[in-house]
Amino acid sequence: MATADWNPLGEIYYKKCEVYSMGWSDIVDISKFEVSAAPYGGPIALLKDESKTARVQVSTKPIITVFTAAGKQISQMRWNSGSIHKMGWSHTEDLLFVQDDGVVLVYDMFLTFKKTFGMGQEAKDVKVIDCKIFSSYQGTGIAVLTSTYRVFIINSVDDPRIRRLAEVPGLSSAPSSWAVINLDRQSRALIAKGSELCLIDQGGQYQVQTPDVSTEVTQFLAMSLSFNNRCLAMFTDKGVIWIGSSDLQKKYCEFNTKSPTPPQQLSWCGAGAVVGLWGNMMLVVGPDKDWINFNFDNPVHLVEEEDGLRIIGKYQHEFLYKVPEVTEKIFKIGSMEPGAMLFEASKEFYKGSQKADEYIRIIKDKLEIAVSQCIEAAGHEIDPAKQKPLLRAAAFGKCFLTDYNPEAYVNMCQMLRVLNQVRNHVIGIPLTYSQLQHLSMPILIDRLVLRKLFYYAVKICQYLKIADAEGASRILAHWACYKVQQKNEDDETIARAINQKLGDTPGISYSDIANHALEEGRPDLATRLLDFEPRAGQQVPLLMKMHKDNIALSKAIESGDTDLVYTVLLHLKESMNQGEFFMAIRNMPIAYALFIQYCRQQNRKLMEDLFYQEDNFQEEGTCKVVNSFNEDRMEDRIEELKLAQACFTKAKNEFAKVQTEEQIKLLKYQQRLEEEMNRPYLNLSLHQTIYRLTLANNHKVAEQLRKEFKVPDRRFWWLKINALGECGDWVELERFSKGKKAPVGMEAFVEVCAKHGNMKEAMKYLVKVSPEQKVKCLVKVGERKKAAETAFENKNEEELSYVLSKCGPSDKQLVDTIREKQEFIIIQQRSGSPSECSAKESTSSSDADHNQLALYHVTCQPHNRGYMVPIGYKCTIYVTCPA
């Protein structure tokens, strides 16, 4: 019968079943050890304290052994630190040892030392008298009670920050019992002081409460919090077990055990029953004063789980749990639940009985519920032999449903397959379905990795089709990290082995592995591994950490990411002296260029030094020139320029040298001029300086500058003509024109007069203009008609076109005349028939639309293309024949 091993506790049933027969049965006597087992089917640590059992005081250190839940030894070591006060497991399955001086040592399950931290100076000074390892909202916490009855607490062993809880007023002796409660995201301690309970917190607050106990209480000898922190059980000195809510507001029941001694262990079985252990006798008390009694042949140790209680003995590892509701529904005798019916139907079906049909008919409407009940119940079964018929029933029921989503069924099958696998005594993680749901699959995989069961982990990932990045390759990365710890193999072999296995799998971070190798003190291996790392961003920082700066630099350059290059460069600059640094980067042009770029913005002096060291005098000189612009004082500026000049000399840049020299001269002139004339001259170019001088009628100095700086005649003439034109000094202009023979031709004079609107003056010079320039000049002064005539006289067709192109809308008559003349010339020039080479006009020029602008396009010469010449308000394309 399925219900044979069900023990009723009031309305509900409890069931105890064997999970493992212990592999340690030959060697371990549990009563001689201090036992600590991690929840969620975690490993069991045994501490053999010789001093406790030895008849004579011996100074031997205790031995610690870690077993799997199935009693298979994982590791063993002899303790070599101070005296252990308490041993416990963290939520990441690290073994914690709290010494009586408050020092906490963290080991992994293979008993490799991980880290250590203290519980504060006060704890160290006055010694710890009691300690609790509890699960906090941040992970695993530790609370210690010192001999001064103060409580110090850390909320997470990963990030140990010590907090002191409030003082319990009037506490003069050690509390008879205490516990740590997680309430409102804060860990508080509940301390029993006589018949009162005191809740103390981190904020220095305390709260004295007296629980409602019907019998007289002088002391609470033991207390225990349920797994979910909601319920509290206490054992009084009168042998009464008080069960209530953890905030002491509610009392569920009181149960008199009539035992004068407190139980060795007061635990919770899930959240539904309190278990007390006295020697080989175990008492299970329900919230309604119901109870069950169990007797064992050997001493046992109790381990709380979220949905039950594990009982570890010498020969057996058992699990006590409440029969899940759904299981009860299916298997309870006389149950009419759909699930139960379906289960029966399935049984009949496989027997080949037609009764199956009858059962199915009964639950026809509730078949879906029946199927999910069977699936759920299968999940709660620990024995595969019991899972199977339930799943079979579900599968059977499923057939009668048309649009049933099979996902739940498939998922359950997969989960059970994984669970059965990990429960196997080879792996030894006795996890229940509800525990797995709480723990989640990734964490289970992590725990397999933690046990170095890489192969199983990978297989599970592949079975569950978890993406490689989170699954298989992550596990491989862990494997690789483990691999680098194997000191007996040489670097090359390990590196090759790792690369072979990992390859280019996405999600693998070779740099993480390399970092691990580095931590293990194997820099060479790390370097080899880093070669496989494709991401330079990961590679470079690690290389720098390993002081492989040169490799880091070249890798950074290879990556093409200048940011990385800078990271290395700035690091190098800090760690080397300047000379060495310069030498290091000189052979790497990219790094060199980047560093110069950096200096340009941050440290110009350094840049000059660098150029100097490289004998790059040209650049050094340029630097100094740029520097000179930023100097405020004239003396500094000239000083910089002189330095620049010296650099240019060394760089054999004659031109730059001469120019710099001239600039110094010019600056001195300008400074003097500013002082004398009280006008700004500084920073003007030579041309501008002379121009200003001419404008200011200071021809003498202008002349002086001209000679001094060897200004070309043409420039000087243009300059002077323009300047005189601008200031309207026509007299001086005329005088100037009559001086030396102008190198720019008289047309320049005409131009400037025209520009400043003095046509009268312009005419003066016009007569002197050379004949070939005459037409242009005439156009410039606005005498288009005359220009056309002159052009005609010259018999120059090109000039005529030029005049034509300058004609505006008002020159309609002139345009016509020019056209005529042009044709005439063309006919004259060519002996062929006039009709052949007449100009081609695309549109008539007759109607002048004043709202339209148009462009004129001449294609007579190859270099003339693209002329944009407005000829007035006509849209005309005019093509002259090529001569």
């Binding site: 990556s559 093409g560 950096y598 040209q618 120019q659 700086f709 190859p862 002329y867």
Partner: protein, 618 residues
């Protein structure tokens, strides 16, 4: 919100939306009221991404332009800096923070780096001791979609930092931008690199892509090939005077991030007008790619037809018609009218500027420089400009062209031109010339040729006379200078129309060649002249990806409509001009390609030269 892709162009609105979402979530990281301090050069790009009202909605109180000369700033208790990662900027921010500290003003600071944070910047913050009180984040703004076919990184400093200072920081940004783009549009099958930087970008891109390969969805290819071109392959084109309407608008008024601001002289009103120049503006779309000689005529005919539309209102019979007209037509007409007025105004301005100041002579010199004829005359013309103290940029442009087309300037001319330039425009230009020499834009002919003995010198001199310059050889081989004289600018048949038929942009010609040949094979005679070499990569294995039928029905039909191989992404490293964009658009129309132009920035001759010029002392 996302507009469907127009005529086969991949939809780049997505980029905009992504950027907007990223930016708003960054703003939300600092809840409550805050000030936003923006790097000047990021203002326009940000404008294209997020409107002011959106910023206000996200709690932005005041928006300041970042001014590095300010030692302290006022504002509310929270402040976000949106800046380019520059050390000088960091120093200024540190100054702001320290001055607040000195007066004990408590403020929360956050620095958002665009497009990424750099170690050097953080080190400055650390050094200044303010690292503790700022939160640092990144805003990966790479492409700003300026139009349906133009994406820009808006990084004008790329040219200077990469080609002059050899700093590869932005190469990473370029590669990253391509990776992100391909994450949206699918992997690009064919990659052609012309130049050194192009190759670097490609290598880095491959490297970055491989890393994320498992996370990307390569099933939706939208772009067939990618052509990366270094600006230093073709410095000539951006230095030529632009003659298309859009190019002239940029040269005359300056188009910033796709917007233009017309002053009162254009609008004819008191206030100035801001115009968004893109394909949504139908009138602009019609004229942007035209040679300038065809613009005004078109605009006036447009004006006439608009007038006719307006005149329709006189012919309206019933009240219903009238209502209809006012409701639908009038608004559109009014809008069009104002746009048209602006464009006509702009044209007049351009015309006014170009007819004055000897532009014809200038253009003629420019064209004969490109042809390589009349060397002496051209040098004289340049000297004349210097003597007349003409615009310094204009003159410098010609000097650059002279050097570029002749493989450097003869030492004597080089020296005299430099001397004259310095005399005209100041000693600071010494540094400019040194920069231009490093860039290889203005060089003297002696550099490179090792002339040792006098005999050799004569020989090399002889060789120099007979030998064609690199540019001339390229012109010949690629026939960049069209032989036929009659280029119909109204109905062009050749890309050279953008420069009045005088010159086909080298960069665009290279693109054409690569596409028609399907790579660089057979181009050895040409590629040997290109600095930095070429490189091509084919990721599509035997075009299998394209031929495999797609299960999704709609996807399949879309593919047939638009063969992906015709969509070409052209990426200019170091910027491109509007003329080049126009030329490529034309090429696309001619050959049936869909070009998407991506660039680090849109430049013109002035902005390009200004970026490498030494600023005169103030």
């Amino acid at each position: 919100m996302a507009a469907p892709s127009v005529k086969g162009f991949p939809d780049f609105q997505r980029l905009k939306i992504l950027a907007k979402d990223e930016f708003t979530s960054l703003l939300d990281q600092m809840p409550g009221r805050k000030d936003l301090v923006i790097d000047g050069e990021l203002m326009k790009p940000l404008d294209r991404i997020a409107s002011v009202s959106l910023l206000k909605q996200r709690g932005v109180d005041k928006i300041f332009k970042f001014d590095s000369s300010l030692k302290s700033m006022h504002g509310c208790e929270q402040r976000i800096y949106l800046v380019r990662p520059r050390m000088t900027t960091m120093k200024a921010i540190a100054d702001h923070i320290n001055s607040d500290r000195n007066i004990n003003f408590k403020r929360k600071y956050s620095i958002i780096f665009v497009p990424r944070k750099l170690h050097t910047c953080l080190s400055v913050l650390e050094y200044e001791g303010v690292m503790g009180c700022v939160t640092v984040s990144e805003f990966q703004l790479d492409f700003v979609p300026l139009d349906k076919d133009v994406l820009s990184l808006e990084l004008p400093e790329f040219l200077k930092s990469f080609y002059l200072e050899n700093d590869q920081t932005w190469i990473h940004t370029v590669a990253k931008s391509l990776v992100r783009l391909q994450a949206l549009s699918g992997e690009i099958g064919h990659v052609y690199c012309i130049g050194r930087g192009a190759k670097m970008v490609n290598d880095l891109m491959n490297f970055l892509m491989k890393r994320n390969s498992s996370e990307q969805d390569f099933s939706r290819h939208e772009i067939g090939s990618l052509i990366l071109i270094d600006r230093d392959v073709d410095y000539v084109t951006p230095l030529c005077s632009q003659l298309t309407y859009e190019g002239l608008l940029d040269e005359t008024f300056g188009i910033k991030c796709g917007t233009i601001e017309f002053g009162p002289e254009v609008t004819g009103k008191q206030q100035s007008a801001k115009l968004l120049l893109n394909s949504d503006d139908a009138i602009f779309e019609d004229v942007r790619n035209r040679h300038f000689s065809n613009v005004l005529g078109y605009l006036s005919s447009k004006a006439k037809s608009l007038q006719q539309d307006f005149d329709k209102r006189h012919g309206l019979k019933s009240v219903g018609d009238m209502k209809d007209f006012v409701a639908n037509e009038l608004r559109r007409l009014k809008e069009q009218k104002s746009v048209l007025a602006n464009h006509i105004g702009a044209c007049e301005q351009i015309l006014g500027k170009k007819t004055k100041g000897g532009f014809e002579d200038y253009l003629q010199t420019e064209h004969s420089l490109l042809e390589g004829s009349g060397l002496r005359d051209n040098v004289n013309f340049i000297e004349e400009l210097l003597f007349k103290q003409d615009n310094m940029l204009k003159t410098l442009k010609l000097i650059c062209l002279l050097s570029l087309t002749q493989n450097g300037i003869s030492p004597q001319t080089y020296k005299s031109l430099k001397t004259q330039y310095l005399q005209s425009h100041g000693f600071e230009q010494l540094v400019t010339f040194s920069n231009l020499k490093s860039l290889g834009i203005v060089t003297d002919q002696e550099t490179g040729s090792q002339a040792g003995t006098p005999l050799n010198k004569v020989a090399s001199g002889m060789a120099a006379m007979t030998r064609r310059s690199t540019f001339q050889s390229l012109c010949k081989k690629l026939s960049l200078i069209p032989k036929s004289d009659d280029i119909d600018l109204k109905n062009p048949t050749d890309m050279s129309y953008v420069f009045s038929g005088a010159y086909t942009p080298l960069s665009c010609k290279l693109v054409e060649q690569v596409l028609t040949r399907g790579g660089f094979t057979g181009m050895e005679e040409i590629t040997k002249y290109l600095p930095g070499g070429v490189h091509s990569e084919n990721h599509v294995k035997a075009s299998k990806d394209h031929s495999t039928p797609v299960k999704d029905k709609s996807g399949k039909s879309a593919r047939q409509d638009r063969p992906v191989s015709k969509v070409v992404l052209v990426y200019f490293l170091g910027g491109c001009t509007y003329s080049e964009i126009t030329a490529l658009r034309f090429l696309g129309k001619l050959k049936g390609y869909i070009f998407v132009i991506t660039t680090t920035a849109i430049i013109n001759s002035s902005t390009m030269l200004e970026s490498v010029m030494e600023k005169p002392p103030i």
